[in-house]
Protein backbone atom coordinates (compact mmCIF):
# COMPACT_ATOMS: atom_id res chain seq x y z
CA UNK A 1 0.00 0.00 0.00
CA UNK A 2 1.24 3.48 -0.79
CA UNK A 3 2.03 6.13 1.80
CA UNK A 4 -1.22 7.96 0.94
CA UNK A 5 -3.17 4.92 2.10
CA UNK A 6 -1.14 4.63 5.29
CA UNK A 7 -1.54 8.30 6.13
CA UNK A 8 -5.24 8.04 5.42
CA UNK A 9 -5.65 5.02 7.69
CA UNK A 10 -3.69 6.61 10.52
CA UNK A 11 -5.62 9.86 10.16
CA UNK A 12 -8.93 8.02 10.23
CA UNK A 13 -7.89 6.07 13.31
CA UNK A 14 -7.06 9.24 15.22
CA UNK A 15 -10.23 10.95 14.01
CA UNK A 16 -12.30 7.96 15.08
CA UNK A 17 -10.72 8.06 18.53
CA UNK A 18 -11.30 11.81 18.81
CA UNK A 19 -14.90 11.77 17.60
CA UNK A 20 -15.84 9.04 20.04
CA UNK A 21 -13.51 10.23 22.73
CA UNK A 22 -15.86 9.70 25.69
CA UNK A 23 -16.78 6.19 24.66
CA UNK A 24 -13.11 5.51 23.95
CA UNK A 25 -12.09 6.75 27.36
CA UNK A 26 -14.77 4.56 28.94
CA UNK A 27 -13.71 1.47 27.01
CA UNK A 28 -10.04 2.11 27.62
CA UNK A 29 -10.94 2.60 31.28
CA UNK A 30 -12.63 -0.78 31.38
CA UNK A 31 -9.65 -2.42 29.70
CA UNK A 32 -7.46 -0.65 32.25
CA UNK A 33 -9.49 -1.83 35.22
CA UNK A 34 -9.66 -5.34 33.78
CA UNK A 35 -5.97 -5.53 33.14
CA UNK A 36 -5.11 -3.85 36.43
CA UNK A 37 -7.14 -6.44 38.34
CA UNK A 38 -5.73 -9.14 36.18
CA UNK A 39 -2.24 -7.81 36.77
CA UNK A 40 -2.82 -7.59 40.53
CA UNK A 41 -4.09 -11.11 40.50
CA UNK A 42 -1.10 -12.22 38.47
CA UNK A 43 1.29 -10.58 40.93
CA UNK A 44 -0.42 -12.29 43.86
CA UNK A 45 -0.68 -15.56 42.00
CA UNK A 46 2.94 -15.47 40.88
CA UNK A 47 4.11 -14.88 44.41
CA UNK A 48 1.76 -17.45 45.94
CA UNK A 49 3.02 -19.90 43.39
CA UNK A 50 6.59 -18.94 44.14
CA UNK A 51 6.06 -19.40 47.86
CA UNK A 52 4.13 -22.66 47.48
CA UNK A 53 6.76 -23.97 45.06
CA UNK A 54 9.39 -23.25 47.66
CA UNK A 55 7.30 -25.00 50.28
CA UNK A 56 6.50 -27.84 47.92
CA UNK A 57 10.16 -28.33 47.19
CA UNK A 58 10.60 -29.01 50.84
CA UNK A 59 7.89 -31.67 50.82
CA UNK A 60 9.67 -34.87 51.59
CA UNK A 61 8.62 -38.39 52.34
CA UNK A 62 10.18 -40.55 55.03
CA UNK A 63 9.90 -44.32 54.51
CA UNK A 64 10.55 -46.05 57.86
CA UNK A 65 12.07 -49.50 57.71
CA UNK A 66 10.93 -52.38 59.91
CA UNK A 67 13.31 -53.08 62.74
CA UNK A 68 13.66 -56.72 61.83
CA UNK A 69 14.55 -56.14 58.17
CA UNK A 70 17.86 -57.60 57.04
CA UNK A 71 20.50 -55.65 55.19
CA UNK A 72 19.80 -57.31 51.82
CA UNK A 73 16.09 -56.44 51.95
CA UNK A 74 16.94 -52.86 52.94
CA UNK A 75 19.27 -52.55 50.00
CA UNK A 76 16.67 -54.06 47.70
CA UNK A 77 14.05 -51.65 49.06
CA UNK A 78 16.37 -48.70 48.48
CA UNK A 79 16.98 -49.76 44.89
CA UNK A 80 13.28 -50.26 44.32
CA UNK A 81 12.36 -46.81 45.58
CA UNK A 82 15.15 -45.13 43.66
CA UNK A 83 14.17 -47.08 40.55
CA UNK A 84 10.66 -45.62 40.65
CA UNK A 85 10.31 -43.19 37.74
CA UNK A 86 8.72 -40.46 39.88
CA UNK A 87 11.45 -40.47 42.49
CA UNK A 88 14.15 -37.85 42.25
CA UNK A 89 16.53 -38.93 44.97
CA UNK A 90 16.74 -41.22 47.99
CA UNK A 91 18.87 -40.97 51.07
CA UNK A 92 19.33 -43.73 53.63
CA UNK A 93 19.36 -42.61 57.24
CA UNK A 94 20.30 -45.29 59.76
CA UNK A 95 18.77 -45.41 63.23
CA UNK A 96 22.11 -44.17 64.63
CA UNK A 97 22.04 -41.16 62.36
CA UNK A 98 18.46 -40.44 63.47
CA UNK A 99 19.56 -40.59 67.06
CA UNK A 100 22.48 -38.30 66.29
CA UNK A 101 20.10 -35.77 64.70
CA UNK A 102 17.75 -36.01 67.68
CA UNK A 103 20.53 -35.48 70.12
CA UNK A 104 21.66 -32.47 68.15
CA UNK A 105 18.15 -31.04 68.11
CA UNK A 106 17.54 -31.63 71.80
CA UNK A 107 20.97 -30.41 72.79
CA UNK A 108 22.05 -31.62 76.19
CA UNK A 109 18.73 -33.20 77.12
CA UNK A 110 19.76 -36.72 76.14
CA UNK A 111 23.11 -36.59 77.86
CA UNK A 112 24.08 -39.87 79.41
CA UNK A 113 21.62 -41.83 77.33
CA UNK A 114 23.39 -44.73 75.67
CA UNK A 115 21.82 -44.93 72.28
CA UNK A 116 24.05 -47.80 71.22
CA UNK A 117 22.34 -50.04 73.71
CA UNK A 118 18.78 -48.93 73.32
CA UNK A 119 17.83 -46.99 70.18
CA UNK A 120 14.07 -46.91 69.52
CA UNK A 121 14.43 -44.91 66.33
CA UNK A 122 13.87 -46.73 63.04
CA UNK A 123 16.18 -46.47 60.06
CA UNK A 124 14.57 -44.78 57.05
CA UNK A 125 14.80 -43.65 53.47
CA UNK A 126 14.25 -39.92 52.89
CA UNK A 127 12.63 -39.64 49.49
CA UNK A 128 12.36 -36.55 47.27
CA UNK A 129 9.92 -36.89 44.35
CA UNK A 130 10.06 -35.22 40.93
CA UNK A 131 6.59 -33.76 41.43
CA UNK A 132 5.86 -32.83 45.05
CA UNK A 133 2.16 -33.52 44.50
CA UNK A 134 2.96 -37.18 43.82
CA UNK A 135 3.94 -37.85 47.44
CA UNK A 136 0.40 -38.72 48.54
CA UNK A 137 0.06 -41.41 45.87
CA UNK A 138 3.60 -42.71 46.26
CA UNK A 139 3.28 -42.98 50.02
CA UNK A 140 0.37 -45.39 49.57
CA UNK A 141 2.41 -47.42 47.13
CA UNK A 142 5.60 -47.57 49.21
CA UNK A 143 3.68 -48.69 52.26
CA UNK A 144 2.98 -51.99 50.52
CA UNK A 145 6.65 -52.69 49.85
CA UNK A 146 8.23 -55.46 51.98
CA UNK A 147 10.25 -54.17 54.89
CA UNK A 148 8.38 -50.86 55.14
CA UNK A 149 7.03 -50.01 58.57
CA UNK A 150 5.34 -46.68 57.82
CA UNK A 151 5.51 -43.71 55.45
CA UNK A 152 5.25 -40.07 56.57
CA UNK A 153 5.03 -36.95 54.43
CA UNK A 154 3.14 -34.42 56.55
CA UNK A 155 -0.26 -35.99 55.93
CA UNK A 156 -3.12 -33.50 55.96
CA UNK A 157 -0.92 -30.41 55.76
CA UNK A 158 0.36 -31.22 52.28
CA UNK A 159 -3.09 -32.01 50.88
CA UNK A 160 -4.40 -28.69 52.21
CA UNK A 161 -1.55 -26.77 50.66
CA UNK A 162 -2.21 -28.30 47.25
CA UNK A 163 -5.96 -27.75 47.53
CA UNK A 164 -5.59 -24.06 48.45
CA UNK A 165 -3.26 -23.39 45.51
CA UNK A 166 -5.70 -25.05 43.13
CA UNK A 167 -8.69 -23.07 44.44
CA UNK A 168 -6.75 -19.80 44.15
CA UNK A 169 -5.87 -20.61 40.56
CA UNK A 170 -9.43 -21.60 39.54
CA UNK A 171 -11.02 -18.50 41.10
CA UNK A 172 -8.41 -16.31 39.47
CA UNK A 173 -8.94 -17.80 36.05
CA UNK A 174 -12.73 -17.39 36.29
CA UNK A 175 -12.32 -13.79 37.39
CA UNK A 176 -9.92 -13.04 34.56
CA UNK A 177 -12.20 -14.64 31.96
CA UNK A 178 -15.20 -12.62 33.17
CA UNK A 179 -13.30 -9.35 33.06
CA UNK A 180 -11.84 -10.10 29.63
CA UNK A 181 -15.30 -10.78 28.19
CA UNK A 182 -16.57 -7.48 29.61
CA UNK A 183 -13.65 -5.63 28.04
CA UNK A 184 -14.20 -7.21 24.62
CA UNK A 185 -17.90 -6.37 24.79
CA UNK A 186 -17.25 -2.72 25.65
CA UNK A 187 -14.55 -2.22 23.04
CA UNK A 188 -16.71 -3.79 20.36
CA UNK A 189 -19.59 -1.53 21.41
CA UNK A 190 -17.43 1.59 21.18
CA UNK A 191 -16.08 0.66 17.78
CA UNK A 192 -19.56 -0.21 16.56
CA UNK A 193 -20.48 3.40 17.29
CA UNK A 194 -17.58 4.66 15.17
CA UNK A 195 -18.49 2.23 12.42
CA UNK A 196 -22.11 3.36 12.45
CA UNK A 197 -21.11 7.01 12.40
CA UNK A 198 -19.01 6.27 9.36
CA UNK A 199 -21.46 3.96 7.65
CA UNK A 200 -21.98 6.35 4.76
CA UNK A 201 -18.26 6.67 4.24
CA UNK A 202 -17.81 2.89 4.33
CA UNK A 203 -20.51 2.49 1.68
CA UNK A 204 -18.77 5.05 -0.52
CA UNK A 205 -15.48 3.27 0.03
CA UNK A 206 -17.03 0.02 -1.12
CA UNK A 207 -18.43 1.68 -4.24
CA UNK A 208 -15.11 3.18 -5.27
CA UNK A 209 -13.39 -0.17 -4.85
CA UNK A 210 -11.77 -0.20 -1.41
CA UNK A 211 -10.85 -3.65 -0.19
CA UNK A 212 -12.31 -4.87 3.09
CA UNK A 213 -8.89 -4.69 4.70
CA UNK A 214 -8.45 -1.07 3.72
CA UNK A 215 -11.76 -0.31 5.45
CA UNK A 216 -10.95 -2.47 8.46
CA UNK A 217 -7.54 -1.06 9.31
CA UNK A 218 -8.61 2.22 10.97
CA UNK A 219 -11.07 0.35 13.18
CA UNK A 220 -8.56 -2.34 14.03
CA UNK A 221 -5.96 0.27 14.92
CA UNK A 222 -8.56 2.08 17.01
CA UNK A 223 -9.21 -1.09 19.00
CA UNK A 224 -5.53 -1.87 19.19
CA UNK A 225 -4.72 1.59 20.57
CA UNK A 226 -7.45 1.34 23.18
CA UNK A 227 -6.09 -2.06 24.19
CA UNK A 228 -2.50 -0.84 24.24
CA UNK A 229 -3.21 2.24 26.36
CA UNK A 230 -5.46 0.10 28.52
CA UNK A 231 -2.51 -2.21 29.15
CA UNK A 232 0.27 0.35 29.48
CA UNK A 233 -1.30 2.33 32.32
CA UNK A 234 -1.96 -0.68 34.58
CA UNK A 235 1.63 -1.76 33.95
CA UNK A 236 2.83 1.60 35.27
CA UNK A 237 0.57 1.35 38.31
CA UNK A 238 1.59 -2.25 38.99
CA UNK A 239 5.27 -1.35 38.67
CA UNK A 240 4.87 1.35 41.27
CA UNK A 241 2.81 -0.82 43.64
CA UNK A 242 5.09 -3.82 43.42
CA UNK A 243 8.28 -1.82 43.76
CA UNK A 244 6.79 -0.20 46.87
CA UNK A 245 5.77 -3.59 48.29
CA UNK A 246 9.20 -5.10 47.72
CA UNK A 247 10.81 -2.08 49.35
CA UNK A 248 8.43 -2.29 52.30
CA UNK A 249 9.09 -5.98 52.81
CA UNK A 250 12.85 -5.42 52.67
CA UNK A 251 12.71 -2.38 54.95
CA UNK A 252 10.71 -4.28 57.56
CA UNK A 253 12.96 -7.29 57.27
CA UNK A 254 10.02 -9.59 56.57
CA UNK A 255 12.30 -11.95 54.77
CA UNK A 256 10.01 -14.93 55.38
CA UNK A 257 7.70 -13.34 52.75
CA UNK A 258 9.76 -14.58 49.89
CA UNK A 259 8.69 -12.12 47.14
CA UNK A 260 9.82 -12.52 43.55
CA UNK A 261 12.19 -9.82 42.29
CA UNK A 262 10.63 -6.76 40.60
CA UNK A 263 12.19 -7.43 37.18
CA UNK A 264 10.93 -11.00 37.04
CA UNK A 265 7.38 -9.94 37.91
CA UNK A 266 7.38 -7.03 35.44
CA UNK A 267 8.73 -9.22 32.64
CA UNK A 268 5.89 -11.64 33.24
CA UNK A 269 3.30 -8.84 33.41
CA UNK A 270 4.51 -7.18 30.21
CA UNK A 271 4.58 -10.53 28.43
CA UNK A 272 0.92 -11.14 29.31
CA UNK A 273 -0.78 -7.75 29.62
CA UNK A 274 0.46 -6.09 26.40
CA UNK A 275 -0.56 -8.93 24.07
CA UNK A 276 -3.75 -9.40 26.05
CA UNK A 277 -4.69 -5.70 25.89
CA UNK A 278 -4.02 -5.42 22.18
CA UNK A 279 -5.69 -8.77 21.61
CA UNK A 280 -8.81 -7.63 23.45
CA UNK A 281 -8.84 -4.41 21.42
CA UNK A 282 -8.49 -6.18 18.09
CA UNK A 283 -11.06 -8.81 19.00
CA UNK A 284 -13.49 -6.09 20.04
CA UNK A 285 -13.12 -4.24 16.76
CA UNK A 286 -13.33 -7.40 14.65
CA UNK A 287 -16.59 -8.33 16.36
CA UNK A 288 -18.09 -4.92 15.67
CA UNK A 289 -17.34 -4.74 11.96
CA UNK A 290 -18.50 -7.95 10.32
CA UNK A 291 -21.91 -7.08 8.99
CA UNK A 292 -21.06 -3.50 8.02
CA UNK A 293 -18.65 -4.69 5.38
CA UNK A 294 -21.20 -6.60 3.35
CA UNK A 295 -22.06 -3.95 0.76
Amino acid sequence: MFISGFIYILGETLKGLYRNRWMCITSTGVVMVTLLMLGLFMVVNLNVRHITETVKEQVEMVVYIDEETDRATIEELGQKILGHREVDRVEYVSSEEHMGRLQQQLGGMLEGYDSALDNPLLASFEVRTEDPEAVVRLADEFETYPGVSAVFYGQGYVENLFEVTRVIQVIGLALMAGLAITAVFLISHTIKLTVMMRKREITIMKYVGATNWFIRWPFLLEGLMMGLVGAALPLGILYYLYATSVEWVTANELMFINLLPLQAVMAELVAYLIPLGTGLGILGSMLSMGRFLRV
Binding site: S4, G5, Y8, I204, G209, A210
Partner: protein, 229 residues
Protein backbone atom coordinates in the same frame (compact mmCIF):
# COMPACT_ATOMS: atom_id res chain seq x y z
CA UNK B 1 -18.70 -4.96 -22.22
CA UNK B 2 -21.98 -5.74 -20.41
CA UNK B 3 -24.00 -8.74 -21.44
CA UNK B 4 -27.17 -10.09 -19.84
CA UNK B 5 -28.43 -13.55 -20.74
CA UNK B 6 -31.77 -14.76 -19.39
CA UNK B 7 -31.29 -12.58 -16.35
CA UNK B 8 -33.72 -12.95 -13.45
CA UNK B 9 -33.73 -11.16 -10.14
CA UNK B 10 -36.13 -11.98 -7.34
CA UNK B 11 -36.31 -10.16 -4.04
CA UNK B 12 -37.37 -11.73 -0.79
CA UNK B 13 -38.44 -15.32 -1.10
CA UNK B 14 -39.08 -15.12 -4.79
CA UNK B 15 -42.38 -13.31 -4.52
CA UNK B 16 -41.22 -10.07 -6.09
CA UNK B 17 -39.71 -10.37 -9.55
CA UNK B 18 -37.48 -7.36 -10.14
CA UNK B 19 -35.97 -8.55 -13.43
CA UNK B 20 -37.75 -11.01 -15.65
CA UNK B 21 -35.67 -12.76 -18.33
CA UNK B 22 -33.66 -9.72 -19.41
CA UNK B 23 -31.26 -10.04 -22.38
CA UNK B 24 -29.03 -7.35 -23.87
CA UNK B 25 -25.50 -6.59 -24.97
CA UNK B 26 -23.71 -3.29 -24.45
CA UNK B 27 -20.52 -2.67 -26.37
CA UNK B 28 -17.44 -0.74 -25.30
CA UNK B 29 -17.84 3.04 -25.64
CA UNK B 30 -21.64 3.06 -25.85
CA UNK B 31 -23.91 5.59 -24.16
CA UNK B 32 -27.03 3.89 -22.81
CA UNK B 33 -30.16 5.15 -21.16
CA UNK B 34 -32.14 2.73 -19.00
CA UNK B 35 -35.64 4.15 -18.78
CA UNK B 36 -38.83 3.06 -17.10
CA UNK B 37 -41.09 4.00 -14.25
CA UNK B 38 -40.17 3.50 -10.59
CA UNK B 39 -39.86 -0.18 -9.78
CA UNK B 40 -39.29 -1.13 -13.42
CA UNK B 41 -35.92 -2.68 -12.49
CA UNK B 42 -33.45 0.02 -13.59
CA UNK B 43 -31.70 0.36 -10.25
CA UNK B 44 -31.70 -3.40 -9.71
CA UNK B 45 -29.92 -3.82 -13.01
CA UNK B 46 -27.26 -1.27 -12.08
CA UNK B 47 -26.82 -2.91 -8.68
CA UNK B 48 -26.28 -6.24 -10.39
CA UNK B 49 -23.63 -4.75 -12.66
CA UNK B 50 -21.58 -3.53 -9.70
CA UNK B 51 -22.42 -6.78 -7.88
CA UNK B 52 -24.15 -5.08 -5.01
CA UNK B 53 -26.71 -7.80 -5.72
CA UNK B 54 -26.33 -11.27 -7.17
CA UNK B 55 -28.67 -12.43 -9.96
CA UNK B 56 -31.14 -15.12 -8.99
CA UNK B 57 -30.81 -16.77 -12.37
CA UNK B 58 -29.04 -16.20 -15.67
CA UNK B 59 -25.69 -14.70 -16.53
CA UNK B 60 -24.52 -11.12 -16.31
CA UNK B 61 -21.11 -10.52 -17.81
CA UNK B 62 -19.24 -7.30 -17.08
CA UNK B 63 -15.85 -6.87 -18.75
CA UNK B 64 -16.29 -10.44 -19.96
CA UNK B 65 -16.58 -11.84 -16.43
CA UNK B 66 -19.67 -13.42 -14.95
CA UNK B 67 -20.18 -11.08 -12.00
CA UNK B 68 -22.60 -13.47 -10.34
CA UNK B 69 -19.74 -15.89 -9.85
CA UNK B 70 -17.13 -13.32 -8.94
CA UNK B 71 -15.59 -14.14 -5.54
CA UNK B 72 -16.19 -11.49 -2.87
CA UNK B 73 -12.52 -10.53 -2.63
CA UNK B 74 -12.46 -9.65 -6.34
CA UNK B 75 -15.30 -7.12 -6.02
CA UNK B 76 -13.10 -4.12 -5.22
CA UNK B 77 -11.18 -4.67 -8.47
CA UNK B 78 -14.40 -4.85 -10.50
CA UNK B 79 -15.62 -1.63 -8.91
CA UNK B 80 -12.37 0.21 -9.56
CA UNK B 81 -13.19 -0.12 -13.24
CA UNK B 82 -16.68 1.30 -12.78
CA UNK B 83 -17.33 4.89 -11.71
CA UNK B 84 -20.59 5.33 -9.81
CA UNK B 85 -22.74 8.48 -9.84
CA UNK B 86 -25.78 8.67 -7.54
CA UNK B 87 -28.95 10.72 -7.40
CA UNK B 88 -28.14 11.75 -3.82
CA UNK B 89 -24.46 12.38 -4.75
CA UNK B 90 -23.17 10.31 -1.78
CA UNK B 91 -20.35 12.63 -0.92
CA UNK B 92 -18.56 13.05 2.37
CA UNK B 93 -20.11 16.33 3.36
CA UNK B 94 -17.69 17.39 6.05
CA UNK B 95 -14.76 17.16 3.65
CA UNK B 96 -13.51 19.32 0.83
CA UNK B 97 -14.10 18.81 -2.88
CA UNK B 98 -10.45 17.83 -3.30
CA UNK B 99 -10.63 15.28 -0.47
CA UNK B 100 -13.75 13.66 -1.88
CA UNK B 101 -12.10 13.06 -5.23
CA UNK B 102 -8.73 12.11 -3.77
CA UNK B 103 -10.49 9.63 -1.48
CA UNK B 104 -11.51 7.47 -4.43
CA UNK B 105 -7.86 7.27 -5.46
CA UNK B 106 -6.47 6.71 -1.97
CA UNK B 107 -8.63 3.65 -1.39
CA UNK B 108 -7.35 2.06 -4.56
CA UNK B 109 -3.77 2.54 -3.44
CA UNK B 110 -2.76 5.37 -5.78
CA UNK B 111 0.49 7.17 -4.96
CA UNK B 112 0.45 10.70 -3.49
CA UNK B 113 2.14 12.05 -6.58
CA UNK B 114 -0.46 10.53 -8.84
CA UNK B 115 -3.28 11.88 -6.67
CA UNK B 116 -1.77 15.38 -6.67
CA UNK B 117 -1.54 15.30 -10.44
CA UNK B 118 -4.85 13.63 -11.23
CA UNK B 119 -7.31 15.37 -8.85
CA UNK B 120 -6.80 18.92 -10.20
CA UNK B 121 -7.08 17.49 -13.71
CA UNK B 122 -10.47 15.84 -13.14
CA UNK B 123 -11.73 18.88 -11.23
CA UNK B 124 -10.79 20.91 -14.27
CA UNK B 125 -12.72 18.50 -16.51
CA UNK B 126 -15.91 19.02 -14.50
CA UNK B 127 -15.33 22.77 -14.16
CA UNK B 128 -14.62 22.83 -10.44
CA UNK B 129 -10.95 23.79 -10.55
CA UNK B 130 -11.63 26.84 -8.36
CA UNK B 131 -13.63 24.95 -5.75
CA UNK B 132 -11.04 22.38 -4.72
CA UNK B 133 -10.88 23.69 -1.18
CA UNK B 134 -14.62 24.27 -0.78
CA UNK B 135 -16.62 22.12 1.58
CA UNK B 136 -19.34 19.98 0.03
CA UNK B 137 -22.01 21.68 2.15
CA UNK B 138 -21.09 25.03 0.59
CA UNK B 139 -21.81 23.81 -2.95
CA UNK B 140 -25.02 23.85 -4.99
CA UNK B 141 -26.70 20.58 -6.04
CA UNK B 142 -25.23 20.81 -9.53
CA UNK B 143 -21.76 21.41 -8.16
CA UNK B 144 -22.11 18.49 -5.80
CA UNK B 145 -23.03 16.23 -8.68
CA UNK B 146 -19.97 17.48 -10.56
CA UNK B 147 -17.87 16.38 -7.59
CA UNK B 148 -19.63 13.02 -7.85
CA UNK B 149 -18.68 12.86 -11.51
CA UNK B 150 -15.09 13.89 -10.82
CA UNK B 151 -14.85 11.16 -8.19
CA UNK B 152 -16.33 8.63 -10.62
CA UNK B 153 -13.73 9.34 -13.31
CA UNK B 154 -10.77 9.82 -10.95
CA UNK B 155 -9.58 6.24 -11.36
CA UNK B 156 -10.05 6.29 -15.15
CA UNK B 157 -12.79 3.65 -15.13
CA UNK B 158 -13.80 1.86 -18.31
CA UNK B 159 -17.45 2.44 -17.48
CA UNK B 160 -19.57 5.03 -15.65
CA UNK B 161 -22.86 4.02 -14.08
CA UNK B 162 -25.18 6.86 -13.14
CA UNK B 163 -28.38 6.12 -11.21
CA UNK B 164 -30.79 9.05 -11.71
CA UNK B 165 -27.90 11.52 -11.80
CA UNK B 166 -30.20 14.45 -12.53
CA UNK B 167 -33.01 13.43 -10.18
CA UNK B 168 -32.23 16.16 -7.64
CA UNK B 169 -31.29 18.89 -10.09
CA UNK B 170 -33.12 21.68 -11.93
CA UNK B 171 -33.43 21.26 -15.72
CA UNK B 172 -30.55 23.58 -16.63
CA UNK B 173 -28.13 21.96 -14.20
CA UNK B 174 -29.34 18.51 -15.25
CA UNK B 175 -28.41 19.30 -18.82
CA UNK B 176 -24.92 20.44 -17.75
CA UNK B 177 -24.36 17.16 -15.93
CA UNK B 178 -25.57 15.16 -18.92
CA UNK B 179 -23.30 17.12 -21.21
CA UNK B 180 -20.41 16.26 -18.94
CA UNK B 181 -21.35 12.58 -19.10
CA UNK B 182 -21.50 12.85 -22.88
CA UNK B 183 -18.04 14.39 -23.04
CA UNK B 184 -16.72 11.64 -20.77
CA UNK B 185 -18.31 9.13 -23.15
CA UNK B 186 -16.65 10.84 -26.12
CA UNK B 187 -13.29 10.09 -24.51
CA UNK B 188 -14.11 6.39 -24.80
CA UNK B 189 -15.74 5.60 -21.46
CA UNK B 190 -18.91 3.51 -21.60
CA UNK B 191 -21.75 5.36 -19.86
CA UNK B 192 -24.90 3.75 -18.46
CA UNK B 193 -27.57 6.12 -17.16
CA UNK B 194 -30.78 5.08 -15.43
CA UNK B 195 -33.24 7.96 -15.62
CA UNK B 196 -36.80 9.23 -15.52
CA UNK B 197 -35.87 12.41 -17.28
CA UNK B 198 -37.83 12.40 -20.53
CA UNK B 199 -36.39 15.66 -21.84
CA UNK B 200 -32.82 14.52 -21.44
CA UNK B 201 -33.41 11.16 -23.09
CA UNK B 202 -35.23 12.71 -26.02
CA UNK B 203 -32.60 15.38 -26.45
CA UNK B 204 -29.56 13.10 -26.43
CA UNK B 205 -30.85 10.52 -28.88
CA UNK B 206 -28.72 7.65 -27.59
CA UNK B 207 -29.46 3.97 -27.33
CA UNK B 208 -32.40 3.47 -24.97
CA UNK B 209 -33.29 0.25 -23.10
CA UNK B 210 -36.89 0.32 -21.87
CA UNK B 211 -37.77 -1.61 -18.75
CA UNK B 212 -41.27 -2.30 -17.51
CA UNK B 213 -42.14 -4.48 -14.53
CA UNK B 214 -38.72 -6.09 -14.74
CA UNK B 215 -39.00 -6.93 -18.43
CA UNK B 216 -36.94 -5.39 -21.20
CA UNK B 217 -39.69 -4.15 -23.47
CA UNK B 218 -37.65 -2.14 -25.94
CA UNK B 219 -34.10 -1.51 -27.16
CA UNK B 220 -33.66 1.33 -29.64
CA UNK B 221 -30.70 3.12 -31.12
CA UNK B 222 -31.27 6.90 -31.00
CA UNK B 223 -34.39 6.16 -29.02
CA UNK B 224 -36.71 8.61 -27.37
CA UNK B 225 -38.46 8.24 -24.04
CA UNK B 226 -41.97 8.59 -25.37
CA UNK B 227 -41.66 5.63 -27.72
CA UNK B 228 -42.92 3.35 -25.02
CA UNK B 229 -44.52 5.70 -22.49
Amino acid sequence: MVEAKNLFMKYGKGKQLALDNVNFFIDRGEFIFFVGSSGAGKSTLLKLIIRELKPTEGVLKVFNRDVGRLPRHRLPYLRRNIGMVFQDFRLMEERTVYDNVAFAMIVTGASRREIKRRVPHVLNLVGLQDKAKARITDLSGGEQQRVGLARAIANRPAMIIADEPTGNLDPGTALDIMNLLRSINLRGTTVLVATHNREIVDRFKKRVLYLENGKLVGDEQKGIYSNVH
